[in-house]
C-alpha cells in the first residue's frame, strides 16, 4: 500500500502555476508604510469626496487599536504592515474611455489570463471589470448594461459618480470596525467593483471582476459593493491570479452585498492567487471579509467558491438573513496542497422568520496542506421556523496533511431545525486501481474522482466557469496522490 502510494506520488509530476508571469509595465507606487498621510494620499489620488476620507480615517484609527485575530487554525508568519506598499497602479490615463486608450501591454496581460477585454472577443453574456493592483483597468459592456439602468463600474468611479448610493450602503454590512482586516481594508482600499441592479431588473449577463496582482511588495485591498433592489437578479463572478514571487503578499478584500425584497444575488469566486511553491515559499495571504444581507423579505444570497490558490486563506462569506422567508446558501470547494493553509467557511445568521440556509463544503487536503472548515449557524430568538442543513466533507490525500472542522451551532428558538453532517474520507487505492483497470491513468483518475467529489459545488458555478474550475482543481492537485 505505502509503496504503491509513493510510487504513484513519484509518477505524477508537479503541476505548474500557469498565471505566474509578471507584466512589465510602468507602475506608479507610493512609498511603503502606513500612516494617516498615506490614507489621505490614497483618498486624494482617487479624488474622493470628504465623506470617504472621513470613513477611511475613522477606519484607520480604529485599526490601530486592534490586534491580529488569533483564533483561526492557521500559522501566520508576522506581517510587517510598514513594509507594504498600499497603492500601486499601472500608469495610464485616468479612466480610459475606450479600449484604444488602454495600454496594449495591459490588454495582452488580460488576454494571457483568458480575459480578453475587447467585447467582441469575450464570452457573450459576461461583462468584466478588470482590476490590476490598485485600480480598475477597464469595465466592459458598461453601455449595454446602462440601458437597463444597471450600474457596473469600478468602485473609484462609483464614489465619484454615484456618491449617494455609495454613502447609503458602504460599510452597512461590513462596518469599518468589523474585524482587523476589514478595518485595514476600509482605511486603504484602492479599487474594486460596484454594482447596482435597479428594481425589477434581471441582469441579462454574468457580471465579473477579474483581480490581478502584478506589482511587487504591494498589498491588494479591493472593495466590492453589490446592491440588488427589489425584485432584481444578478449573478456575479470574481477570479483572481498573481505572479509567482518569493515573498508573501497581502490581499485583504471586503465584499458587501445588499439584497432587498425578492432580490436574488449569486456570487461566485474562483480564487487562484499564487499559492507559493512546493516548499511553501511565497504566495498570497488571502484575508477576506465577505458578507451579504438579505434585507428584504424573500430575498436570496448564494455564495459559491472554489478556493485553490493562496498560501493562506482566511475567509468566511456569510449571510445575514434579516428578512422573512430569506435564503442563504454557501457552496465551497477548498484545496490545500503543498504547504497551503486554509481556514474557511461561512456564517448564517438567522434573524427573519422562516429563513433557510444550506451549507455544502468540500475540503481537499494534500501534501502538507492544512484545511479547516469553520461555520456558525445562529438562530436568534425572534427567528421562527428556521431551517438549516450543513454538510461538510473532507478528503485527505497523503498522511502529512490535515483536515479539520469547527462548526458552531447556536439556537435560541425552539422551532428551528438544524442539521449538521460531516465526513472525512480519502481517495482509495481501490478507486484508483478501478480506474486504471479501465485504462484511465492515475493522474486522470485523481482528477475524475476529485471532480466527482466536488460535483455538488461545481454544479453551482455559472456554466462558463464550471469547466475552468474543474481543470483548476485537477491542476492544483497534481503531484499529490497518496
Amino acid at each position: 500500500m505505502e509503496e504503491s502510494q509513493d510510487h504513484i506520488l513519484n509518477e505524477v509530476t508537479g503541476g505548474e502555476y500557469k498565471y505566474g508571469f509578471i507584466t512589465d509595465i510602468e507602475t506608479e507606487t507610493i512609498p511603503k508604510g502606513l500612516n494617516e498621510d498615506v490614507v489621505r494620499l490614497i483618498s486624494a489620488k482617487k479624488k474622493e469626496p470628504d465623506f470617504m476620507l472621513e470613513f477611511r480615517l475613522k477606519a484607520y484609527r480604529h485599526w490601530l487599536t486592534m490586534k491580529m485575530p488569533q483564533w483561526a487554525h492557521l500559522t501566520i508568519p508576522e506581517i510587517r504592515y510598514q513594509d507594504i506598499i498600499y497603492y500601486a497602479a499601472p500608469r495610464q490615463q485616468v479612466g480610459p474611455k475606450s479600449l484604444e486608450e488602454v495600454d496594449p501591454e495591459l490588454l495582452r496581460t488580460f488576454d494571457r489570463l483568458g480575459i480578453p477585454l475587447e467585447e467582441q472577443k469575450m464570452l457573450s453574456g459576461v461583462a468584466v471589470d478588470a482590476v490590476m493592483d490598485s485600480i480598475s483597468v477597464k469595465t466592459t459592456f458598461r453601455e449595454t448594461l446602462a440601458e437597463l439602468g444597471i450600474v457596473f463600474c469600478s468602485m473609484s468611479e462609483a464614489i465619484r459618480e454615484y456618491p449617494e448610493l455609495v454613502k447609503k450602503y458602504l460599510g452597512t454590512v461590513v462596518p469599518y470596525t468589523d474585524n482587523y482586516f476589514a478595518s485595514l481594508n476600509s482605511a486603504v482600499f484602492s479599487d474594486g467593483s460596484f454594482c447596482y441592479i435597479p428594481k425589477g431588473v434581471r441582469c441579462p449577463m454574468e457580471l465579473s471582476t477579474y483581480f490581478r496582482i502584478n506589482a511587487a511588495n504591494t498589498g491588494q485591498f479591493e472593495r466590492t459593493l453589490l446592491v440588488a433592489e427589489d425584485d432584481s437578479y444578478v449573478s456575479y463572478l470574481e477570479g483572481c491570479t498573481a505572479p509567482m514571487r518569493d515573498e508573501n503578499q497581502l490581499h485583504a478584500a471586503v465584499v458587501e452585498i445588499i439584497a432587498l425584497e425578492n432580490a436574488e444575488v449569486k456570487y461566485s469566486t474562483v480564487q487562484n492567487w499564487y499559492p507559493g511553491d512546493r516548499n511553501g515559499k511565497g504566495g498570497i495571504y488571502n484575508f477576506v471579509t465577505k458578507r451579504g444581507i438579505c434585507k428584504g423579505d424573500n430575498s436570496k444570497i448564494s455564495w459559491t467558491q472554489v478556493e485553490t490558490g493562496s498560501a493562506i486563506t482566511w475567509k468566511y462569506p456569510s449571510c445575514i438573513l434579516r428578512g422573512n422567508n430569506t435564503i442563504g446558501e454557501f457552496y465551497s470547494v477548498a484545496v490545500t496542497n503543498n504547504y497551503q493553509q486554509a481556514d474557511t467557511g461561512t456564517k448564517m445568521i438567522h434573524i427573519g422568520k422562516n429563513s433557510r440556509s444550506t451549507i455544502i463544503s468540500k475540503g481537499i487536503s494534500a501534501g502538507h496542506g492544512q484545511n479547516s472548515f469553520r461555520s456558525l449557524v445562529k438562530v436568534v430568538k425572534s427567528a421562527d421556523k428556521v431551517r438549516n442543513f450543513t454538510q461538510c466533507d473532507s478528503m485527505l490525500m497523503g498522511d502529512k496533511c490535515g483536515a479539520h472542522t469547527f462548526p458552531y451551532i447556536e439556537v435560541e428558538n425552539e422551532s428551528a431545525v438544524i442539521e449538521h453532517e460531516a465526513t472525512t474520507s480519502r481517495i482509495g487505492e481501490d478507486q484508483i486501481f478501478y480506474c486504471n483497470q479501465r485504462g484511465i491513468d492515475t493522474e486522470n483518475a485523481v482528477g475524475l474522482i476529485i471532480n466527482g467529489y466536488a460535483r455538488e459545488v461545481l454544479n453551482k458555478l455559472p456554466m462558463e466557469f464550471a469547466v475552468e474550475a474543474q481543470k483548476l482543481l485537477a491542476i492544483s492537485l497534481e503531484g499529490s496522490v497518496g
Binding site: 478501478y434 480506474c435 479501465r438 486522470n444
Partner: protein
C-alpha cells in the same frame, strides 16, 4: 494470447499462488473454479496488475508481450479487462463521464481522436440494451448505491463498451438472481468472437450452464490441480470440492 508459466504471487509476504501454468488462445472460454480461499481472485488481480499482489516468480506473456512489466492502465488499454468481484463506489463520478474518459484514453493510446459525442451516445445506447441497463442507472455515480446485481451488470456493460481482447470475470455470478445471471451471461456470449477470449472465475457451476466453457480448471491451495473439458464443472457440482481435496 495468454501464457502463464509457474506464476507465484504473494500478499504481505504470504504466498497465495504457488506455481500456476495456464494457456489461453483466441476464441476460447476458460473457467477457473475452486473453493473459497484457493487463490482465484488473486490470480485475476495479479493479471490486472494490482500492486499489493507481488509476483515473486514466473512469467506471464500476453499478446507476445511481458504482461508483468505493464502498468495496470496499459494492460487495460491493450485489451485486458477485469470484471471485479466487488466493484468500488466512486461518488460523484457518473458512469457516462467515467466511460467517456476511459474510451478516450483507449483511443488516445491507439492514436485515435477522442470519440464524438454522438458516436459515444450511440455506442452507449447499443451496449446498454445488451445488458438491460437503464438510463437512470448510467446517470448515477459509478457503483454508488447500486445493488449487487446492478454492480455486476455495470461491469458487463463496461466490458461491452471497452470491447476487450481478454476478459477476466471474477465471480461475476455471485449475488445474482437467476434473471440477472441470464442477462449477464447473455451479454458475455454476445461479445464472444473468434479473436477474443474469456476467463470466467466462479465458485459455482451454475453460471457455466449459460456461459459454456471450453476448458475448466480447478484451483486449490494456489495450484491448478485439475484441468479438463466442460464436463469437469458438472462433476464438481455433483461431488463438491472435497474429492479434489482428498485426491490431493
Amino acid at each position: 494470447m495468454l501464457q502463464i508459466k509457474d506464476l507465484h504471487v504473494s500478499i504481505d509476504g504470504k504466498e497465495i499462488l504457488k506455481g500456476i501454468d495456464l494457456e489461453v488462445k483466441a476464441g476460447e472460454v476458460h473457467a477457473i473454479m475452486g473453493p473459497n480461499g484457493s487463490g482465484k481472485s488473486t490470480l485475476a488481480a495479479a493479471l490486472a496488475g494490482r500492486e499489493m499482489f507481488a509476483v515473486t516468480k514466473g512469467s506471464v506473456t500476453y499478446m507476445n508481450e511481458n504482461l508483468l512489466e505493464l502498468s495496470p492502465e496499459d494492460r487495460a488499454r491493450k485489451g485486458l479487462f477485469l470484471g471485479f468481484q466487488y466493484p468500488v463506489e466512486i461518488p460523484g463520478v457518473s458512469i457516462v463521464n467515467f466511460m467517456k474518459t476511459a474510451i478516450n484514453e483507449h483511443r488516445k493510446f491507439k492514436g485515435l481522436e477522442p470519440i464524438s459525442a454522438s458516436d459515444f451516445l450511440k455506442h452507449m445506447r447499443e451496449k446498454k440494451e445488451l445488458v438491460g441497463l437503464t438510463s437512470s442507472l448510467t446517470n448515477r455515480s459509478v457503483n454508488e448505491g447500486f445493488s449487487g446485481g446492478e454492480k455486476k451488470k455495470n461491469e458487463i456493460f463496461q466490458m461491452a463498451m471497452l470491447e476487450p481482447i481478454l476478459a477476466i470475470l471474477d465471480e461475476t455470478d455471485s449475488g445474482l438472481d437467476i434473471d440477472a445471471l441470464k442477462i449477464v451471461a447473455q451479454g458475455v456470449n454476445q461479445l464472444r468472437r473468434k479473436d477474443n477470449a474469456t476467463i470466467v472465475i466462479t465458485h459455482y457451476q451454475r453460471l457455466l450452464e449459460y456461459i459454456v466453457p471450453d476448458f475448466v480448471h480447478v484451483l486449490y491451495k494456489g495450484r491448478i490441480v485439475k484441468s479438463s473439458g466442460k464436463e469437469l464443472a458438472l462433476e464438481l457440482e455433483e461431488k463438491g470440492y472435497d474429492w479434489i481435496k482428498t485426491e490431493e
